[in-house]
Symmetry: C2
Subunit: 339 residues, 2 copies
């Protein structure tokens, strides 16, 4: 089973997105001028860059509706956006949500609000607006997306440019599947003998149903990343999303990322892998496999960086690998290479 | 026929939105602190306020898909957001789009991009990012929303506070129905003998089908409003959206807005009104009825304001009424009052 076979053709998506972006040429000059090219998410604002990130929870919301538990998808929505913003070294400030529903129900929207509130606390972000649209003919159930505004001093923007062979790669443990790969996740469960209400068949998640384990909210890494940015010249930051380990390649293409000490994936990943007969190559390019965020620093900074991250993070911190000469991401223990 | 009967129960929506917002309490202090309360859309950023507005095109997209014309809904998406941002006196800077589709098709997304591009030029905004999500089980056709980042000096924020009896109200002509009330619009057409492909039965829109007339994109008022803000101390700005004339009441509740010289509604409104047997009261609280934006200035500034607006706007400018003592909005020629 693969992600593409589950109805999400990433290549087709990329072509569609390129077609849309290809039309976009307008840019302001001075205040509001894009930094780093179109669609890089940043504009000039005096000595600062203002950063906009927009993303949705995707089809994870279908599991929320399946088990009627809606108080965590707001966390996913915030997490996906603030973790993206962190990658350029920016501090999240304000958030707006976009909720499209087939029918406006206060008992449901209240639960959405609970997740957003909790996430805003974790991310230290002000939620300053939003839109709830009733679109019965367009939406089945609901769709949840959001946009976060962040800022960073221009001279402190992290582009990945400083990454060089000899740098070290630190991983932050994920909280589970986060918010990517859910078309494949649902495809696996739907083709198995399991139901979302069944007890999860591993010790790790005692008293939790499969649906609850799969719905576990995405980790928010704001506090630990801001703490490390304050003290250390970080070379690269990667939010491990839909492309799995491939996300590292986006940082800088002219080096090799060798993950020789990967974080141990949570049992939910081996459960899904076995159930769907998915090969390692597909797993590591679809899911985060235990590492939700990666930080790249020079070898002289690794100890201090690990120290700061450990003190500020609720998630495990691990030295997972090294930047080498070459190209692509390699995971020697699984004999995997993504270039 | 009413808006509520067309499946959009505004009261029910409001309860659902309040339930969501009721959960939101987290706010930052200092940089990122909300200005004007939660959900007012503004945060503090030094001497500036940064403003986030998020909105979608709503069910107007269904008409786009009906007649397979997708190159204008991007304009609607931008317009709804930048026109909202203008209302606090802010200048739009940057935009991100959120497009949810049932299937990613480059021929479709390219058309969406065309509209966004044209709108970005009109609004002088940089499009710096976006998300295109394939959600076949959640979305039928597509849903298009966006978020605009704007800025204004704190001391120049327009709150409506300065509005007082004796002030004058200027209207800017709308370009048609804009992007509100489309559940009612579609309900009217669907219950009539007309089809979206039929020729529009009035001279005004020669050679246009009903679908094309209904799809006409929302006016963008950035240039004219920024021009008037530069020269005149504007007291109030209202983007006339879903609530029709009721939008004026939101500016300040302790005065009366008397519209004694309303703009002439386009023929598309009388066509819909007759076809759906809708009363005037419902029309003026659902549609813009020819006036897309309202500007309130002191009586000593009206001539200069009219002059600036006329020079910078592609839309008709008209002195539509006066602020009086009292409450609510009145439209004497139709004997309508909204309080």
């Amino acid at each position: 089973m693969t992600y593409a076979e589950s109805g999400v053709d990433i290549d087709k998506e990329e072509v569609a997105i390129k077609a849309l972006i290809g039309e976009i040429t307008q840019t302001r000059k001075g205040i509001g001028e894009p930094l780093g090219g179109h669609y890089a998410g940043m504009i000039s604002f005096g000595k600062y860059a203002l950063v906009l990130c927009t993303d949705g929870v995707g089809s994870k919301v279908l599991i929320a509706s399946k088990i009627k538990k809606w108080d965590t998808v707001g966390i996913d929505c915030m997490a996906m956006n603030v973790n993206d913003a962190l990658c350029v070294g920016a501090e999240p400030l304000a958030f707006v949500d976009y909720l499209a529903v087939d029918s406006p129900d206060p008992n449901f929207t209240r639960e959405i609000g609970k997740g957003l509130k909790k996430a805003a606390e974790q991310a230290n972000v002000s939620i300053i607006g939003g839109e709830t649209a009733s679109l019965p003919e367009i939406v089945n159930g609901f769709d949840l997306a959001g946009t976060v505004l962040s800022y960073v001093e221009k001279k402190k923007i992290i582009t990945g440019e400083r990454i060089s062979p000899g740098d070290e790669i630190i991983g932050l443990k994920s909280s589970g599947i986060h918010s990517n790969g859910y078309s494949l996740v649902r495809n696996i469960i739907d083709h198995s003998s399991y139901d979302y209400d069944d007890a999860f068949p591993f010790d790790l998640y005692t008293n939790q149903t499969i649906g609850e384990v799969l719905l576990h909210p995405t980790a928010i890494y704001v506090k630990e990343i801001l703490a490390v940015l304050k003290k250390i010249q970080v070379h690269g930051l990667a939010h491990i999303t839909g492309g799995g380990l491939r996300n590292l390649n986006r940082l800088k293409e002219t080096v090799k990322y060798e993950i020789n000490n990967p974080m141990t994936p949570q049992k939910v990943f081996s459960f899904l892998q076995k159930l769907g007969s998915i090969d390692d190559h597909e797993m590591y390019q679809t899911f985060n496999m235990g590492m939700g965020f990666a930080i790249i620093v020079s070898s002289s900074d690794i100890d201090e960086a690990m120290n700061i991250l450990s003190r500020h993070s609720s998630y495990d911190v691990q030295h997972v690998g090294t930047v080498k000469k070459g190209k692509g991401v390699s995971l020697p223990s699984k004999q995997l290479v993504y270039s």
